[in-house]
Symmetry: D2
């Protein structure tokens, strides 16, 4: 960590700071300029709080040289982490996974039929929301436990592992028992109490990126889960909020090479929520694969026009199959399979 | 609600849509253009889900004419709501309230001393964080229950009502018993399960704006709380994320006249978190008052340079007093007191 | 265009508005609700000014149903436009074009050497900046005319068409004479006087997207060029400003399917400026091709560490060759060549 | 400037960098950590190009300690600059200036009438657009030279100095001769050729902030003008683009204390373009004054509903008078006059 002081800082204040850092076991080198002084801290600064240092009125700027995350950091874990979801490996050089299914579970028959179609089209897991984060309290909030049980039934019939969003800690037992991959939604990416809670689960976590969060903040949220004891985190990019109006959000595919560089955890892409429009899902899926993603999560619906939520971004099963077929050829070009 | 269809939509599809809306008790007027058809829905459309309508492949655009909120909407509640916090009225033409205190409670002695200074300087309530939302799992997470009890003791000594942030539903009993104004932080503005839970509390709620949320989304979060039974919501603007680097966030003071127009609920301003720099707190406080805010929440610390969190944005008690004194004269210019 | 009025608008005001629109040759349908009235305008509304309509104090909302662009609109020009750059066709089902070269021309020898390497690696055109938009007046501003003449010499030696950025109208004669594809930079995307000026040129225009502009605004800037007489516009996405700090900008690949849907003009991708980091250029290039882009523009430098500008985002010629080779296989998967 | 290198950088590369900086006359101090090396540069680094340093593959991070601007920097010019506009002083402890007038000049009679009303209400200067930056090529583009001459006539009649926007260098002679305060619009804030050109004018420049630009970039644009020879720059905040939909832009009033700290130049506020809605103009004007701004620029129109552009954000002359009257009392509270 590098700290620079303001013009005119008295020597005594600098000495106080240096001694304070040394007392934390850090080595401090000091550069004295004409207008300012710079302190370079050497040692483990992960636990130092930048804001607290900035509170010193003589401090001008604070810059981390090391990243603030450890467990999720590739620097300390060179090989790719492979996360197993009910036996399906995700990450590394493994086959890309494709997760398909409706935004919301709408009933047992619907989800079983869709599960069958997802499987026949070549999908590997089934998604379906039972607890839905909705901007309006008057909108459909999901079927709750009933929806989870419908998903379990669909898994029994098809064998597909199931993925669903957890919105509050009081449902953790239900998810621990029933769900194979526990999704933390974009709006909860910095719900730190929930992150700590799922950090105590044994099931892998699908961590969506917040709508206006940086990649560093996202990795820090993975660090929350990992530091609570759960090493099995998969990142999921689902678009960020920008000024663009033709799409619901803006898909940021550069997260793929960046996460691969900074972290050892897998990353999958959600082109459905990112674009909010089924017409852009195929091209963004192929782009995600070419960029090196470890998988896709795509909304699939038999009758998008009558879906209970987010039908506009759902593709029909036949298009889902096409995406997988085209995607596989692209995956092979870059040395993966799907 | 106004719905326009795509070029080339068959008449039968339009008929189907019209009948579907009519079956929900809405009146539908149809405008037939050369390139498109427009349907105007007349009636209560609050419960209609825009996304579900957009899912129809023949639909091009959907626009609400009425706002999607009812309980928080000034249209249906013309007079200002006055929210009482342990007997102190907030909103309407009441005196502006000033809330002061540290970012984090650091111990009983500290918070009692600060409470005294806040009171002597002219402050009306005491803030202090016991549960802290921190980006890093390695940063100080707050004193927890101990911090809440220290606040309670500070209230006993000074009589100041206390304000603190609630981060998870499992602490609701503690807050219901001890805290006078329950803060929902920016990162939890769309933690819908938590909103529903505090909607069942009897204490008033201080609802901070999310870092990248629109005012409409913010009011919808108030609607969540109100529709669960708690009408006592105070909005708190604390800055939004922008590209600016000289401040931590960008304070959006235009929320004041907008919320006054759209809603009947009070609004207060947090210049400390918004700017992240104590040097800008005074001018932004005065600006907030001139804009018509119902109060301020300001971080105050005796020794900002050694605060356990956010010292850089804390003012010392003497400056806090100055802000209140200057602020009062501005409040009087626009017909309020403080 | 659909116009809704505020609650309580007198009938006489509505009549005035209707008559005013009718006098412009538009047909007006009126829907009268309990709380508001809606007017649907049928006819050519391209020339109507939304802001002017909003100025009417009785108007609540104005929504365009038709897009505000005509010449760039696929609705009125179904087939793909193919733009020829010194004989090389760009767009439609043509081969993808790859443009390579340094950020800045640094001298005749440098640019000729790089041009040779770009050509040998499989590139089709040469880029090089002679007039550089720099945030600081103290930074290198480009070689100016000398740089353009160096580019001309590189074209003479290699046969590669040349691409360079025009920053002001006083250099139009120079560019008309020397440059094959005239770039309008991101910061000038809404420099409307310059857009009009290049609309009178005979050379094709490479129109970069502004750092915080929507796709609609971008197409409107193409419309400026086209309406001044120049139909040969190629869009170039180069990343938008977001909160992310690990990249210079955020590459928005969803522009590819959107522009293909909304417009008939070609679109190419600049992964170098978008990411600002050569380590992410290859994956983003392959993703762009998979998404359906018509080409790439990539910064190439022999010695990035001593480049006069933007070395951090430049790839070396051998990596440029690799990108083209891998990219070609992906292009073929989606039915194109490169 | 502080430069940190990547993990594993060979000593020889560090030596090369150190020697390179020393050869530029800078003093270099080196801190050697376990994982990285830090170089602190002491001396004038204004002319150093950060991006060029980052291009070195061994460099990890580059951080400026000194600001990249000199002429606009308060560090080197402690006293406030007072900019004179046709004899009216702006900045320092001078009276606040209020500029009023229509978005667009619509004719001689209109502008003369409005100038009279602006003057009678207490305004000090007249604004009016003759060259209009419009997103659509089909929208009204301004009266051009005729509009400027109408403004000149309004000045002759009322004595009010005139303010108008310059969009291209080819009109500089016209503006030099006729206009008292030359506005550079938000979309041209980084039109560097235009900045250089107005830097050679003798008239003061009103520099609007770009829609998505940081304050540092804005000051750098002032630096462009100043370094070309024109020291008379006034900053004008007009709102930045955010996700908010209830306002056209988001007014950032924190620029006032920040610019006062970082620079010695005056700053005025444009609440009309910032909010895009006349209903929010009064409260934002009062807030701007309380924040310490040196003046206001407000759109005033006799008949907003029939204005040729931007009527929705224009106030009528009587409200303009009210704003000045209330504003004066607030100015006096903070020790200024208006």
């Amino acid at each position: 960590m590098i700290i620079s002081t303001k013009h005119g800082t008295p020597q005594i204040e600098i000495t106080k700071m240096v001694e304070s850092f040394q007392s934390m076991g850090l080595r401090v080198s000091v550069i004295t300029g004409t207008d300012y002084t710079v302190m370079g801290l050497v040692g483990d600064t992960t636990h130092l709080d930048e804001k607290r240092i900035r509170a010193n009125p003589y401090v001008d700027k604070v810059q981390r040289v090391s990243e603030p995350y450890k467990l999720a950091n590739r620097l300390f874990h060179q090989e790719d982490s492979i996360v197993s979801v009910r036996g399906i490996p995700v990450g590394g050089k493994e086959k890309l996974v494709v997760i398909g299914g409706p935004c919301s579970v709408e009933g047992k028959e619907q989800i079983i039929n869709l599960a069958r179609e997802v499987k026949e089209a070549g999908g590997h897991m089934l998604r379906g929301g039972a607890y839905k984060p909705r901007t309006s309290p008057y909108a459909f909030q999901g079927l709750g436990t009933e929806g989870i049980l419908d998903m379990v039934e669909a898994r029994r019939v098809t064998g597909l592992p199931i993925v669903s969003e957890l919105m509050s800690a009081d449902k953790i037992d239900e998810f621990e028992e029933c769900v194979d991959l526990v999704q933390i939604g974009a709006r909860n990416m910095q719900n730190f109490q929930l992150l700590k809670a799922v950090g105590r689960m044994t099931k892998p976590i699908l961590l969506k990126r917040g709508l206006a969060n940086t990649i560093e903040e996202w990795i820090m949220s993975a660090e929350y889960i990992m530091s609570a004891g759960n090493p099995n985190v998969i990142f999921c990019e689902r678009g960020i909020r920008t000024f663009e109006k033709y799409t619901r959000n803006t898909l940021d595919l550069s997260v793929v090479p960046i996460l691969k560089l900074k972290s050892h955890l897998p990353v999958i892409i959600d082109p459905s929520h990112a674009t909010g429009d089924w017409r852009y899902v195929e091209s963004m899926s192929l782009a995600a694969i070419a960029a090196g993603a470890d998988g896709l999560i795509i909304e699939v619906h038999d009758h998008p026009e009558s879906a209970w939520s987010d039908g506009a971004q759902s593709v029909r099963p036949d298009r889902f199959r096409t995406i997988i077929e085209k995607g596989r050829t692209i995956a092979q070009v870059i040395g993966r399979d799907m």
